[in-house]
C-alpha cells in the first residue's frame, strides 16, 4: 500500500545520498580524512573512560525484607515524609530517585538518592536479583513486633541476601532495620540481633550440607567453628531502629547519607 510506495521512494533517496557521500569522500585529500577519524575515535574513548569512572559510585539503596515488614511505608516516608493512606502487599517494586524529604529544606546542592523498594513476597524474590548488582547499600527491614513467628523466614531471607554473589564480592554494607518500634510489644534490636545470629548459625550448617559441590570461601558466612556473629561478615552490617508510621526514620537516613555522599 502506501507504506510500500513511500518505502521504495526512501530507498531511492538513501541510495542517492550514499552515492553523493562516496563522491565527497573520494574528493577530499586523505590527510583531512585521517584527522577526522582520529578526532572521532578520541572523543569516543574519552566518553567511555568517563563512563567507567562514573559507574563506581552508585547511588542506589535497596529496601528489602519479608512481606509485611513495612518497606513500602518507609519508602514513602523517605520520599514524602508521610505514609499517606496506608499500603497493601506490593506486587511490583517501587523505585524513585529523589532527595530525601527531610533534606529538602537544607540549602546547597544535595545529590538525589535512588531508592528501590523490592516486594517481600516469596514469589517475587527474583526481583531482588535485578537490583542487587547496582546497589550501594542494602536495608533489610524486620518487623520488630511480629518477629518471633517469622524469625526463621526472616533469617533465611537474610542469609540469602548475605550470601548473594554481588553482596559478597562488592562488600555492600547492610543495615538491619527493626521497624514498628513505636508499638509497645516491639522487641529490642539487641534481642533481634541475637536471634538472627542464632538462626543464621543453624542455617549455615544445614545449607552448606546441601551444596558441597562448589563451596568457595566467598559464600560461606563467618568463620566456621565459631558461633556466627554479624561482625564476622566481610561487609559492614549494622542494626538500627525505626518506625515507619510515625516517621521516626533518622537512623535510616543517616545510613543512606553515609553511603551516598553529597
Amino acid at each position: 500500500m502506501d507504506f510500500e510506495k513511500i518505502e521504495t521512494e526512501v530507498k531511492i533517496h538513501v541510495q542517492k545520498w550514499v552515492g553523493e557521500a562516496q563522491l565527497l569522500i573520494q574528493r577530499k585529500p586523505p590527510a583531512q580524512l585521517y584527522v577526522a577519524v582520529a578526532v572521532v575515535v578520541f572523543t569516543m574513548l574519552l566518553l567511555i573512560l568517563i563512563k567507567l569512572f562514573k559507574r563506581k559510585t552508585s547511588n542506589t539503596i535497596v529496601l528489602t525484607g519479608l512481606s509485611g515488614s513495612g518497606k513500602t511505608i518507609l519508602f514513602y516516608q523517605l520520599r514524602d515524609g508521610s505514609s499517606h493512606l496506608g499500603t497493601v502487599t506490593s506486587m511490583e517494586p517501587n523505585e524513585g530517585t529523589f532527595v530525601l524529604h527531610s533534606e529538602t529544606t537544607k540549602k546547597g546542592k544535595i545529590k538525589p538518592v535512588h531508592i528501590v523498594d523490592v516486594p517481600g513476597h516469596s514469589r517475587l524474590r527474583a526481583k531482588l536479583d535485578e537490583f542487587l548488582p547496582q546497589a550501594a547499600g542494602v536495608v533489610f527491614v524486620v518487623d520488630a513486633v511480629e518477629f518471633l513467628p517469622n524469625c526463621r523466614a526472616a533469617s533465611e531471607y537474610l542469609y540469602e541476601v548475605l550470601t548473594a554473589a554481588s553482596v559478597v564480592k562488592r562488600k555492600i554494607p547492610l543495615l538491619i532495620l527493626c521497624n514498628k518500634v513505636d508499638k509497645v510489644t516491639a522487641h529490642t534490636k539487641d534481642f533481634i540481633r541475637k536471634q538472627l545470629e542464632k538462626e543464621i548459625d543453624k542455617l549455615r550448617t544445614s545449607r552448606t550440607a546441601v551444596s558441597e559441590a562448589d563451596v568457595t570461601d566467598e559464600y560461606t558466612l563467618g568463620t566456621p567453628g565459631e558461633a556466627f556473629a554479624f561482625s564476622q561478615c566481610h561487609n559492614k552490617v549494622v542494626i538500627g531502629e525505626a518506625s515507619g508510621l510515625t516517621g521516626e526514620i533518622s537512623q535510616l537516613e543517616d545510613f543512606i547519607r553515609n553511603l551516598v555522599k553529597p
Partner: protein, 621 residues
Amino acid sequence: MLEQLLIFTRGGLILWTCRELGNALRGSPIETLIRSCLLEERSGSASYSYDAPGAAYTLKWSFHNELGLVFVAVYQRILHLLYVDDLLEMVKDEFSKIYEPTRMVYNDFDDTFQQLKKEAEDLAEKMKKSKQPVKAINANLGKKQGLGQKGGVDGGNQKKSCDDGNGDKDGNKTKSYVYENGHTNGEHVSNGEVTVASGVNGKENRSSNTGAFDKDKLQKMRGGKGGKKTNTAAVSKAPKEELKKKPRVWNDSPPVSKLDFTDPVSENGTDKVPVVAVEHGESMMDREEIISSDSDSDEEEELGKNAKIETKKKGWFSTMFNSIAGKASLDKADLEPALKALKDRLMTKNVAEEIAEKLCESVAASLEGKKLASFTRISSTVQAAMEEALVRILTPRRSIDIMRDVHAAKDQGKPYVVVFVGVNGVGKSTNLAKVAYWLLQHKVSVMMAACDTFRSGAVEQLRTHARRLQIPIFEKGYEKDPAIVAKEAVQEATRNGSDVVLVDTAGRMQDNEPLMRALSKLIYVNNPDLILFVGEALVGNDAVDQLSKFNQKLADLSPSPNPQLIDGILLTKFDTIDDKVGAALSMVYISGSPVMFVGCGQSYTDLKKLNVKSIVKTLLK
C-alpha cells in the same frame, strides 16, 4: 451495599478509599486477595470469596495495566450486587483521567464516586426490572441442563465426559467406567455383580449431585437390593464391615489356602545376610545444575535484532500512523492470537488444559490496556509476561529446606515424620528409598515405616531397601491398620533416637472414598510434619483432578477442625519425559504447594531439586 472500594498501585500504595463506607473490614480480605489470587496468577477469574470469623465477603477487581493501578470492590457475599462490575469500570475510567504519578491525595474523587455509584445503582435497577419476566422461563430450562450435565461429569472415573444433556446416555457411560474401576483395588464384588451395582451407582451419582432426591430413600433402595458391596464415588455412608477381601476365583479350581509366601525366618529382619551398605556416590540433589542459558538467549537476540532492523524503517511510519489513528494500547483482540498460540504450545508440553486456559486468562488480564513499547511485537510482550507468570508460580511460596526442618525437630527431641501419598504406581516406595539415601548422606538417621499393608510384596520391597541402606525398618506385615502401624513406628523412632521417619502408604485413587478416609485417619492420628504427594510427570489432565481431590478429601474427611493438607509434591519419572514437563506446572498451580524433589531415574542417586528457570525455558520453547 458495598463494604469498601479501594484504589491502589501495583507497588502497594493506597491512593483512595471510599470514606463514607467507614466500617472497617473484618480480617484482611485485600491482603488475602493479593496473596492468594493476584500473585498466584488467578487474576483471570471473576471474583474471589473471603471468609473471616464473623464475615463473608466477595471481592471483585479490575486492573488498569497502563498506569499500574488496581481497583477492588468488597461486598457481603449474601448480597448479589449486579452493578459492581459496571461500577468498577466506570471508576476506572474516571480515575485514570485525574491520575498523576506524582499526586498522592485524591480527595476530590469522593464526589465523582458518589455520582458514579448512583448511576450504577440506577442502571442495575433498570436491568433487574427488565430481566425479571425473562428469568422465570430460563430457570426451568437451566435446571434440566444442569442435572444432565452434572450426571455426566461425575459419574464414574475422573474422565471428563462431554456435556451430555441426555440422562440415559450417562447411565451407560457410568456403567462402563465403574466397570474399569472395579478392578483396581480388589475390594469389589466379583465381575458378575458389577453391572447391576454400577446401575445403582449411576443413579446415586446423579441424585447425590442434584441433592433433589432423598438420600435416606436411596439408602433403603440400596439395602433392599441385597446388601451390595461398596463401590467408587458413592455417597459417604459406606458400610465398613463388608470390606473384607475375597480371594479372586478365576475358574472352577478349589480355593487356595492363604497366599502368603513371606519367609517366616526373615519376618523379624534379623537374618545375617551379608549385604554391604550401598555407596553410589552423591545424590543428584547435591550437585549444582549447569544451566545452558546462553544458546537460547542468543537466538532470541538475533530475532529481536532482525525485527528491529525490519521495524526501524517502518517504525516511524507506524508510530506516525498510531498517533494519527490513536491505537497504541493492547486490546483483547490483539492478544487473542498470541495467547492462543501460547496456550497450544503449553498444551503440547503436557500442561493440563484448564490450567493453560486459566494462565492465559490471567496473563491477558495483566496485559490489557498496556501500551506497546516501541520496536516490540505483541507476541514477544505476551511471551515475556507469560514467562514472568510461570516463574512466579513455580517459585516456592515457603521454604523447601527440609534439612532445616529436620534439625528443628531434632532440637525439640521428636522425630520428623514424612508421609508419602499418591495414586497407584507412581513410585512412592522407590522415591522413599531415594530420599532416605539422600538424608543418610547428610548424617541424618532415618527409619522407614511400612504402612502399605495391602499390596503383596510392599513390605518385602521396603525391607530390601532398608537392608541395602542399613537403616531400621518398622513393619507389622500385611492386613493391619496403617494408622496404628504408623503410630507405633513413630513411638519406636522416639525410643531408638531416629531423626526422620519415612512412612510409605498404599496407592489409592482419589475417588475411592473408604481408602481416602483411611488415609485421612492415618494423617489425623499421626500428625506428620510433611505430607508429600507423589505424582508422576507422565500424568496429563488427571494431575488436576488427583491433587484437587486429594486435598479436598483430606480436608473434608478429617475429624479435626484444622485438617492438614498436602505440603509438598514429589515429581517422579522425570527422566521418561523429554521436554513435556507440563505436569509440574499443573500440579503446582492447582495445589499451591511447591515441588520439593524430582525423581529422575531408578537408582538411589536419581533425586534432584526442581530447576525453575530450566522448566520455564522448556515450557516456552
